[in-house]
Symmetry: C2
């Protein structure tokens, strides 16, 4: 089992998942090795269902059996999980008070988005995207039921440069036994800003961005997409539901359809305008609503779930690592102009 | 001139340096393009001194002229600076209180480490490394004299995957008109931990790591190097001066010699053990001691400068971007064992 460790000065936890790999040779030029892996056996393709742990959920054609072909979307536990299911771990502490750690308890699942090895989200039908989003919601609801999973993080890595170790299109869910530092910061800040502005700061920003329009890329009945005013990365995007809601799991069917159309459009624009770059996306939401005091009551009022998309076009370097300060070589207004669909 | 912008929710500033590049085509597959640039003209090689802005400092053979060959280490302003020299900028604010920005005032210099295009720090002599470190100190002292530069960040990117846009070995200095978020957090945390432990938390950790030894990679009279207990990245290293000091500029000649030996050894170990990977390193230090209230008096007692080295062996992906939580596939104890010089 992996271990969580806390950096006493930085205040952040890390996951030491040492089982995943052991010797320096495993790290040597790992990127180059991966490029050679094209055409290799794929455990996510139909017919290879027995090469993954047994599925925990699937959208299937009627009459097909679990762990057999016939699925449209399939969810399996990660074969090399960063965290494993279990009960709330105890935080342990060295006698000198300097070192803190706990067992690596959590959930790590893979959502295989399509049977087709070569079709990315931008290439799928709206109906197929709806099934993927319904699957996201369904997994969130099931994992939320267990209170020891304090935060549920859903994300996608597309392309080796974005950290994908397998090419077959997939997303991942990692549920952690603590609320991660970055999410805690956003909660604290949005709680303070709710006091200052008298309303959810995300609702306020959405209102203003829709009015200004200069960073707006797309909007429909339920969602809007814009480039953030202080974008860290070129062509970074934020996708917000217009209805205030702290948790992704509260999305309804009309919103699922709207989100499918929004995602397809913006991922298609990224693909076309930026020549199919690698990208990451992830959802930010409130802590697990069933996790007790890790999810204070106020979260309902001041937090607003959203999805962040980062095309991988530049490298993070010594300046950014050292300061947390980013240098972005294109203005968010110019990026929005390029990404906005042309009539 | 570039612009600094603040993310009201995340609390972090970013630099929008839009002059540096403009169209989506400039971002398309930028990594692949860079690989093809090998063998291209190099503005940092001797003989091409007129292709950079005029030098602001150099270590030169006696009798050679500024901006002519004959230098061992050469410092020039960055030709495409992220920030430009000027007076303290005013923070500006939109009427609705949502958007904050200021002029991109600061310093951005390049330290060309050697006339030799192909010799990296690990390949240079101790004497040459001493000259580079003396240059670092000299630039720090000069930039610190101007109080509008609140924080001075020195860093190195080696290899395109680490963000280096030119292959010729070089480091960079960026001085910013605010203290960056990550450094502010470390200052706040080390101030609190000083109260709790009754001594500088870095001095305390160094003591403990030297005693335990399991994460120690190297030590000499003035420096020690270990893998942090909660390492974010495989083979991440921290290099600490044993003498308590908040600012790099306070380093003395004996320490410069010791640091040259320490850097050469650990960079050589990284090169040998990990097959010459790309890497980033950067110095963390207190805010500019001449910057007034941005550098509270207590900094002297609770902050301790250090150098962090990150070999680029894995990719930052959607999990890390979304949560600030890192998954490290090798334990810091195993990493230290591999990197420790064999007798």
């Amino acid at each position: 089992m992996s271990e969580l460790r806390k950096d006493i000065i930085g205040g952040r936890w890390v996951i030491i998942a040492a089982e995943r790999s052991k010797r320096p040779d495993d790290f040597r030029r790992s990127t180059e090795v991966k490029k050679k892996e094209k055409g290799k056996f794929c455990p996510f393709c139909p017919g290879n269902e027995n090469k993954t742990p047994p599925e925990v959920f699937a959208v299937r054609e009627k009459g097909t059996k679990a762990n057999q072909p016939g699925w449209l979307v399939r969810v399996v536990p990660n074969k090399f999980p960063a965290l494993q299911r279990g009960q709330t771990p105890f935080i342990q502490k060295s006698d000198d008070g300097l070192f803190f750690w706990m067992e690596g308890i959590g959930v790590h699942e893979v959502i295989i988005e399509s049977p087709d090895h070569n079709r990315e989200l931008a290439d799928l039908s709206i109906g197929h995207l709806e099934k993927i989003i319904e699957t996201y919601r369904s997994r969130m609801i099931e994992i939320q039921a267990e209170k020891q999973y304090k935060y549920i993080h859903l994300f996608k890595n597309k392309g080796p440069e974005a950290g994908a170790s397998l090419a077959h299109p997939h997303s991942q869910i990692v549920a952690t036994p603590i609320v991660p530092k970055r999410n805690l910061e956003e909660l604290k800040s949005s709680s303070e800003l709710k006091e200052r502005f008298g309303q959810c700061i995300f609702c306020r920003l959405i209102e203003e961005e829709l009015k200004r329009g200069e960073r707006l890329v797309y909007q429909n009945d339920h969602f809007c997409v814009f480039t953030p005013f202080a974008s860290r990365f070129p062509f970074e995007l934020r996708l917000y539901p217009r209805r205030h809601s702290p948790w992704f799991s509260e999305i309804d069917m009309a919103e699922i359809n709207s989100l499918a159309r929004t995602l397809k459009l913006v991922l298609y624009q990224i693909k076309e305008v930026l020549a199919d770059p690698p990208y990451n996306f992830y959802i930010h939401q409130g802590p697990n609503p069933n996790s007790g005091r890790d999810c204070p009551n106020g979260v309902k009022e001041y937090y607003h779930w959203h999805l962040e998309i980062i095309p991988i076009l530049s490298r993070v370097a010594g300046f950014e690592w050292g300061t947390g300060f980013y240098i972005n070589p294109i203005s968010p207004e110019a990026a929005a102009e390029f990404l906005r669909p042309k009539k």
